[in-house]
Assembly symmetry: C2
Homo-oligomer: 184 residues x 2
């Protein structure tokens, strides 16, 4: 591999790092190409050599994490996943994908077009259905929501507070709390 090519790969990776950080801090619409270039220490034009648009940078960031959620949802549709296993998997996925969740979660300026590709809403419904059962009533669905929320949002906040890490003790408490949510 030529030196130039290797440097190109490294630059591309740095751009993604910087974009991740800035999108999370100031939002997608709130971050400009100029901001990223400044942090990178190059010109805007240099950036466009590596990515052909701002949206493509975002796309490269979210593809893998969102696919992981989709894979889990597909498993839930094929087979019955025990709640403890599903909630544990959600906690771990949230921990692993935390950096991208931080820029994704609820940033309304992120184009629905991009998010639509991954059917985030559909996956969510699949998880709720799997936790509550297919013919669940309102109360049972509410409990499933509560459990899902603990696995997803409590974990997210804890990882945020813990500089990207979730302590085993906290993981255990969250899983137990989420399971208690499910019980009538």
């Amino acid at each position: 591999m030529a030196v130039a090519e290797r440097d190109g790969v490294r630059t591309r990776a740095r751009i993604l790092e910087i974009a991740q950080e800035l999108f999370a801090k100031r939002g997608y619409a709130g971050t400009s190409i100029a901001d990223i270039a400044r942090e990178l220490g190059t010109s805007k034009a240099a950036l466009y050599y590596h990515f052909s648009s701002k949206e493509q940078i975002l796309g490269a960031l979210i593809t893998e994490p969102l696919s992981m959620y989709t894979a889990l949802a597909e498993r839930c549709q094929k087979e019955t996943v025990p709640p403890e296993e599903l909630l544990g998997a959600l906690i771990d996925l949230t921990t692993e994908t935390h950096a991208v969740n931080a820029l994704l979660s609820n940033d309304p300026s992120i184009t629905p077009t991009l998010l639509g590709l991954y059917d985030v809403e559909g996956n969510l419904q699949t998880f709720i259905r799997s936790l509550a059962g297919p013919r669940a009533g309102e109360a049972s669905r509410a409990r499933a929501w509560a459990a899902f929320t603990v696995a997803k949002q409590a974990t997210f906040w804890a990882v945020q507070a813990g500089n990207g890490k979730l302590s085993p003790a906290a993981r255990k408490e969250f899983l137990a709390a989420a399971l208690r949510c499910l019980k009538p």
Copy 2:
């Protein structure tokens, strides 16, 4: 009250309505003054007669809801609020302030300057401390996080799905689930 003045008040209120909706849908940075003016059916300049900046519109929207959270946090600092009451109050506050929460919650493009005025982070810590007790260990704090998350985020999503309303049945389930989160 003169007709013009009354109309002015109504126009101001309409601007706030429209801004709330658009900020929630596309984000603060993702919504332009032109977008709001178009929806309002007037020019951009007319809008600037009622508000002197875009940030002032946002400020007018969030002042009251955020002050309500601060008031609750202050009560928690002055006296011991039983968990059931605090969690119930958080569920109700989340329901009441849902419209503003929808545009606020996690939109990173909203200036930290504005949010800093209300010490959102400090209030959050106060709620956790009140739920977990002042000298709580890590496990106990994790359970408090879980309970808070159910009261706040599960309620938020449910209200979102229920077109702005939270059914009494769901409220009961969320409160019970949040309380179960707290128990070791």
